[in-house]
């Protein structure tokens, strides 16, 4: 088996492709570094010169406004030059292959690619074929991973709950199609969370998830009882009809997070969501806007976490 392509021979992070296989020390290094960047965001001049003179290319083969914007802000706060490319509407539409696109952008002296792609594993292919000095950050690939979202979720949990080793975390919703859930699960197991529950109907939460170290729950009440952290996932529109689920309304009835269901969790439980939220589908407005919701702090922490990731990998060489 080949070496984990996101680490160099010394075990340092050179790309961020997946949380699967990341050592606990690297996770803590990223979270600690993010903490130091949080204060940068509060300064009047919100910039540090760590990536000055470097070019960061945002390559979004799949549409996203929010994630791309937070990466752009993070790169700019590190003083990098940021180029946004909406590949979904340009090269790929003209029939250019993924690696030809990468070769062309490398010829423009890119230093870092932030990649979102609809196919699982696409950032691995790019990392394996780009020049050795170029770093790749996975900004979401298919159903596989969304590692910076996983990291910002960990930052949020650490901020509010401090110690991972005593927590019960419930992840609710469309887990089978969720890259966020996979990143969260790997991060939580690596950080020593003793109980991780995956909650949803059998079409969205298959039994073989148990092999990832989670307890599979098909009953919402059982799933969130006594939880310290509840992570609600966005239900994609295309799942709400057809053979996965009969309707959004029926999903909300069984698995939507309402104040009375939230009352089953610990009184100080926090509610998280990677956004954008579907009010009345997976989460009730009273919960989304309520005291226990930390959805907006997640967004703020996301910028610091992405700054941390970019500055760490840029400092390590293959």
């Amino acid at each position: 088996m080949q070496r984990n392509p996101q680490l160099n021979k010394s075990g340092e992070l050179i790309h961020l492709l997946s949380i699967d296989g990341l050592p606990r020390a690297v996770l803590h290094q990223i979270l600690d570094t993010a903490g130091t960047f949080l204060s940068v965001n509060d300064r009047e001049v919100k910039k540090v010169p760590l990536l000055r003179g470097k070019s960061v290319f945002n390559l979004f083969f799949e549409n996203s406004t929010r994630t791309r914007t937070t990466f752009e802000i993070a790169a700019k706060r590190l003083s990098a030059d940021v180029i946004n490319l909406d590949i979904a509407r340009s090269s790929a539409a003209k029939g250019e292959s993924l690696l030809d696109t990468i070769a062309n952008l490398s010829a423009m002296h890119a230093d870092m690619f932030v990649v979102r792609h609809s196919e699982s594993g696409a950032p691995y292919l790019i990392a394996q074929h780009c020049a050795p000095h170029v770093h790749v950050v996975n900004a979401g690939d298919g159903r596989h991973q969304h590692p910076t979202q996983g990291l910002l979720d960990m930052y949020t949990i650490r901020h509010f709950k401090h110690d991972f080793t005593k927590l019960t975390v419930a992840i609710v919703g469309d887990i089978v199609h969720s890259r966020v859930a996979r990143s969260d699960i790997h991060a939580l197991t690596t950080l020593g969370v003793p109980e991780i529950r995956a909650v949803g109907p059998k079409t969205l939460v298959p039994g073989d998830l148990a092999a990832m170290g989670v307890r599979v729950c098909h009953d919402m009440k059982e799933g969130i009882a006594g939880a310290d952290v509840i992570i609600m996932l966005r239900l994609q529109n295309e799942r709400m009809s057809g053979a996965m689920l009969p309707s959004a309304a029926e999903f909300f009835k069984s698995y939507g997070l309402t104040p009375d269901k939230l009352a089953l969790a610990k009184p100080d439980a926090i509610v998280m969501h990677p956004g954008p939220i579907n009010r009345g589908v997976e989460i009730d407005s009273d919960v989304a806007d309520g005291k226990q919701s930390v959805i907006l702090p997640q967004v703020t922490f996301g910028i610091a976490v992405r700054m941390a990731v970019m500055s760490i990998i840029a400092g390590n060489s293959a």
Partner: protein
């Protein structure tokens, strides 16, 4: 041309021969096996001291890529790869472009292959026109043109009524239908369903995609009496169903590919597109069942499932990469490797790539049915001579096939083909190529 292969270990599973001796060939036929009379005067003598002399291999699943996919493989390159792998007869599925559903296309392919004077090519005709699963092809005409059976290749026949009628019609004339058991709706993923596919976020093909298709096929076989060859099984549960069908006496045979015999989904590693094959690589217990089933004869034959794929089609994200791998040159080595690892007798190991696949093709081989895949006096001189001591790693760039993608890159193989003779002519000589 008269050829004498001297002093080799002659292993022929069909006649249970395993002895050191000589093999004499004249006018394309074997004229002496074991002891050859002293007055035989060869024009060429091959010293096989320390080498194994066996029947030429018969591979039941080889995509030559002609017509229509010449950028991925041409007859010249793929037939040269076949004889370099010791393969003297091969069966090719009809999923070319255009599909082999017209006698003229089959005749052209047979004609092109014949002129190359390398391995013998036995095409499968399409079971339905354009593999669309709607209209039956002219099976009698296709048979007259040289087809040895009829197949839907990778396209599952969704309409059970059409499949039922196709089997009834094929059974009328005694034609064999070759089907890969895969449910059209459940079988669309890119990896085997399981913990690994779930972790990697790859769409999974569940085992029930295979077992549901098998259950349907067996019911249709019971009803029609049609002879069916099941192509490339992948799961332990599927093999168990075949075992029961055979013990019931149903006229079915089956094969498995070298990929599923040796690899599992864990080999996908970090989205390695070389591991993107159909059927998908399954789990350890499936591989164990495949290996046991091939040893005990539940699975009749081992195939290369040779599918040369162009580099552009493989350097894509895993799910978008074209499935398939080159395998012609690895078939013998991987058969021997399995045999050695699982302590399968050499006779059975070699039978899976010689006499057993010949029995699968059956009467459709015509006059060759009695002598292909075996070494008998008066039979055709299709022979493979390999060196059982020449082990070495698989090097993709060195493959003769136009497709350089193999999931076995770097794997040690325990033997090397030295000579391949087709109809008594030396079609491959490792010392000169």
């Amino acid at each position: 041309m008269k050829v004498l292969i001297r002093n080799g270990r002659i292993v022929d599973p069909a006649t249970k021969r395993d002895e050191v001796g000589d093999l004499a060939i004249a006018a394309g036929r074997i004229v002496g096996v074991g002891r050859v009379s002293a007055d035989f005067e060869p024009e060429r003598t091959i010293d096989a001291t320390g080498l194994v002399v066996m029947p030429g291999l018969v591979d039941l699943a080889v995509r030559l890529r002609e017509p229509g996919h010449e950028h991925e493989g041409m007859l010249e390159s793929e037939m040269a790869a076949a004889v370099a792998g010791g393969i003297t007869s091969l069966v090719c599925p009809p999923d070319t472009q255009p599909v082999l559903d017209e006698p003229g296309l089959v005749q052209m392919l047979k004609f092109r292959a014949h002129n190359l004077n390398l391995a013998r090519v036995y095409p499968l005709g399409a079971l339905t026109r354009g593999l669309q699963g709607e209209v039956l092809t002219a099976m009698a005409e296709l048979t007259a043109a040289g087809c040895v059976g009829f197949s839907q290749a990778e396209v599952a026949c969704k309409d059970t009524l059409v499949l039922h009628r196709a089997l009834q019609y094929a059974a009328t004339f005694g034609y064999t239908t070759w089907l890969r058991p895969n449910d059209a709706w459940l079988g669309n993923g890119v990896a085997a369903k399981g913990a690994l596919a779930t972790r990697m976020g790859l769409s999974g093909v569940p085992t029930i995609a295979e077992t549901i298709a098998l259950a349907t096929i067996f019911e249709l076989v019971r009803d029609t009496g049609a002879r069916v060859h099941l192509c490339r099984l992948s799961s332990a549960a599927g093999i168990e169903l075949v075992r029961r069908a055979k013990s019931e006496g149903l006229p079915v045979t089956c094969d498995v590919s070298i990929n599923n015999l040796h690899l599992t989904d864990v080999d996908i590693g970090y989205f390695d597109a070389a591991m993107r094959v159909t059927p998908p690589l399954r789990q350890q217990r499936d591989r164990d069942a495949i290996r046991a089933g091939l040893a005990d004869g539940t699975i009749d034959a081992l195939v290369s499932d040779h599918t040369p794929v162009d580099a552009d089609a493989k350097t894509l994200p895993f799910a978008e990469a074209e499935p398939g791998a080159s395998g012609l040159e690895l078939l013998l080595g991987l058969a021997l490797k399995w045999g050695a690892q699982d302590k399968v007798p050499l006779e059975r190991t070699l039978a899976t790539v010689t006499s057993a696949p010949v029995a699968v093709i059956g009467d459709a081989l015509g006059s060759l049915a009695a002598s292909a895949g075996r070494l008998v006096e008066g039979g055709v001189a299709d022979v493979c001579v390999y060196d059982p001591a020449a082990h070495g790693p698989v090097m993709p760039a060195a493959l003769r096939s136009q497709g350089k993608h193999t999931p076995f890159a770097g794997h040690e193989l325990p033997a090397r083909v030295r000579y391949t003779l087709v109809a008594g002519q030396v079609a491959h000589d490792a010392s000169s190529s």
